[in-house]
């Protein structure tokens, strides 16, 4: 009996602790609060603290792992975030579905620091909804001790010499996209014939591929387990730092150039504070801190100047316009999405 009572009282004590904790965090600072939803490990955390200090606005900061999950939760109306950081094609989809708030750019004076090349792009043609946060490209990273010939074309991924030494991305949009590029088509094509051709090419390539991989591509390339891999530029910078034999190229046929941009969902009730936050993220010092911590490429021109020369002169991180002149931004596929899904399933199941 005694034991029963002590168990019950312990239980009640726990409950009280938790509920009081929940209440105090729920309405902690009676001041202003904004909620930010960003990719995992995609900010220098000290930046959030300094923002809170400077403006007296409390920041609730959460992280997601991919665009689709984030979209599913926002679409269901389950979340009340004020700032989101989706990728390009997802921004397009959300604008098409009228989910985003038109940002008042008068409140974002630091927008002038954003490189003009990154304005008015396909996913936000009139620059109404988004402010770029990080950007990059897709390319081939190769091990120069295993690949002696010059790498400048996607075609090398189809070279039988490198059988079982090629790593592909386990991402349908990227894998189909680079194949379309190799064939000289747009990576946003909705043309069935072109897609069919890409599918045949990928099936043909399959015996050469060691694996379709995600995050582990970094460890495999660093550990010399494959000769070449299709990767995102941000990851390439990290890999090249860990293994000096690795090199990165953006093939001459062009590639995908991607953006993660800050947007405000229509459901936000603190749009002015959200704009304040976005403006703060574009501040030179702050953008520099983030770019330095994350290691991806910043679109903020002044922050770029503060970064170490060997990074900014590296074409992996900061390719100039000539290097990416054939590259495209992903667009929302809308009705063609099921077709891509189907093609990818057919390739993977072969």
């Amino acid at each position: 009996m005694k034991r029963f009572f002590s168990a019950v009282s312990l239980f009640l004590a726990l409950l009280i602790i938790v509920f009081s904790a929940a209440i105090t965090t729920g309405c902690g600072s009676n001041g202003r609060t904004i909620k930010v939803y960003n990719w995992g490990d995609y900010i220098d955390k000290s930046v959030i603290k300094s923002f809170e200090k400077q403006y007296g606005i409390n920041v609730v900061y959460d992280e997601f792992a991919n665009n689709e999950e984030m979209y599913a939760k926002i679409k269901a109306g389950a979340l009340d975030y004020d700032v989101l950081v989706p990728s390009d094609y997802m921004i397009k989809r959300m604008t098409n579905e009228d989910m985003l708030y038109k940002i008042n750019f008068d409140n974002i004076p630091n927008y002038k620091y954003i490189d003009d090349r990154f304005k008015n792009l396909g996913y936000d043609p009139k620059n109404e909804y988004s402010v770029p946060y990080m950007w990059g490209t897709v390319g081939i990273v190769y091990n120069s001790t295993m690949v002696k010939e010059p790498v400048n074309s996607w075609k090398i991924l189809w070279n039988p010499k490198y059988k079982k030494q090629i790593l592909m991305l386990d991402s349908q949009r990227d894998s189909i996209g680079i194949t379309l590029k190799m064939l000289g088509y747009s990576l946003n094509t909705k043309d069935q014939k072109q897609l069919e051709e890409a599918k045949q090419k990928l099936i043909e390539q399959k015996p050469l591929v060691l694996a379709y991989v995600g995050d582990q591509v970094k460890d495999q390339m660093i550990g010399n387990q494959a000769a070449m891999a299709v990767v995102w530029s941000g990851d390439a910078i990290y890999m090249m730092r860990e293994n000096k034999d690795l090199k990165y190229v953006i093939p001459k046929e062009g590639s995908n150039i991607w953006f993660d941009s800050m947007v405000i969902p229509k459901t936000s009730k603190h749009t002015a504070d959200a704009e304040l936050f976005i403006n703060y993220m574009c501040d030179t010092q702050i953008a520099y801190k983030n770019a330095d911590y994350i290691g991806y490429s910043t679109p903020q021109t002044e922050a770029k100047k503060l970064l170490p020369k060997e990074l900014t002169s590296d074409k992996t991180a900061y390719p100039d316009e000539g290097d990416v002149k054939n590259s495209e931004v992903f667009e929302d596929l809308a009705d063609s999405l099921p077709l891509y899904d189907k093609i990818w399933t057919e390739i993977k199941s072969k």
Binding site: L14, A22, K35, A72, K73, K218, E242
Partner: protein, 260 residues
């Protein structure tokens, strides 16, 4: 001879596959480099950084709080439900047991999304409370199914005997029924506790801004790469569970010795 040798190899193989990944994780928690591809020297720095990483520590705290409360709630409700079910007549009993099985068999993502839609529909803001309710919900059937077999083993006349001897029904439950089914209740509790700590999918869909557990935090690192601090944290968790198990075993063996 050959047979016993092959038996041994079989056994060691099983242990190898079970524990090799954990061992590798422990080894790499001391690796100087962030990469898992090569060993660059021994360091304890990830352990140091772990205790300064507010985000990881908060998620650990959240995970434990949700796990403890949800498994306690689920155990209390589930045990009561199991006692009720065991006293039902045949047909309704079979029906209720089948209904209990459905959430166990249905995929987590279905449970997660449907709970999220329910909370949104009822205008309950997503956060700690909703995640807790979701965890209690998916833990419940496991407790019921752990306790039921124990009740089946129980001689149904024991309870009547206690009443005949002058016990009130409540007193008889506490003094007669509960001690008899205790192993089942504890199994249910531990099962619920581990399931709650493990869960990612349901937690992801039922939590809101500002509250995330360890599984969500680790998963969100997938694109940039899992931080080595996580290796350090999981090593510490593994070691504490190991110590706990050793302690329990030690005390149990002492108890049996005392009895003998």
């Amino acid at each position: 001879m050959v047979k016993s040798l092959s038996k041994k190899i079989y056994l060691y193989l099983i242990f190898f596959f079970l524990y090799a990944p954990i061992l590798i994780l422990i080894v790499f928690s001391f690796n100087g480099s962030k990469s898992r591809a090569h060993w660059t020297g021994f360091t304890l720095s990830w352990y140091g950084q772990l205790f300064h990483d507010q985000q990881i520590l908060t998620s650990l705290y959240n995970t434990l709080i949700v796990a403890v409360i949800s498994s306690l709630f689920a155990t209390v409700i589930g045990t009561a439900a199991a006692i009720g079910i065991s006293r039902m007549r045949k047909l309704p009993k079979a029906m209720i047991i089948n209904v209990t099985y459905i959430p166990v068999l249905s995929p987590d993502i279905v449970t997660g999304i449907s709970l999220m839609l329910l909370f949104v529909f009822l205008h309950i803001p997503l956060g700690f409370i909703t995640m807790l309710m979701a965890h209690i919900t998916f833990n419940l059937p496991f407790v019921i199914l752990a306790v039921l077999p124990k009740l089946k083993q129980l001689n149904s006349q024991v309870f009547d005997a206690a009443l005949d001897l002058g016990a009130t029904p409540m007193y008889a439950y506490k003094k007669v029924i509960l001690p008899e089914i205790m192993p089942g209740v504890i199994t249910g509790f531990l099962l619920a506790f581990t399931l709650s700590i493990d869960d990612f999918v349901i937690s992801f869909f039922t939590t809101g801004s500002g509250f995330s557990n360890l599984a969500i935090t680790i998963y969100s690192m997938a694109r940039r790469g899992i931080k080595p601090e996580i290796n350090a944290l999981l090593t510490l968790m593994f070691i504490s569970i190991l110590l706990l198990l050793l302690l329990v075993n030690y005390r149990m063996s002492k108890d049996t010795k005392n009895k003998a």
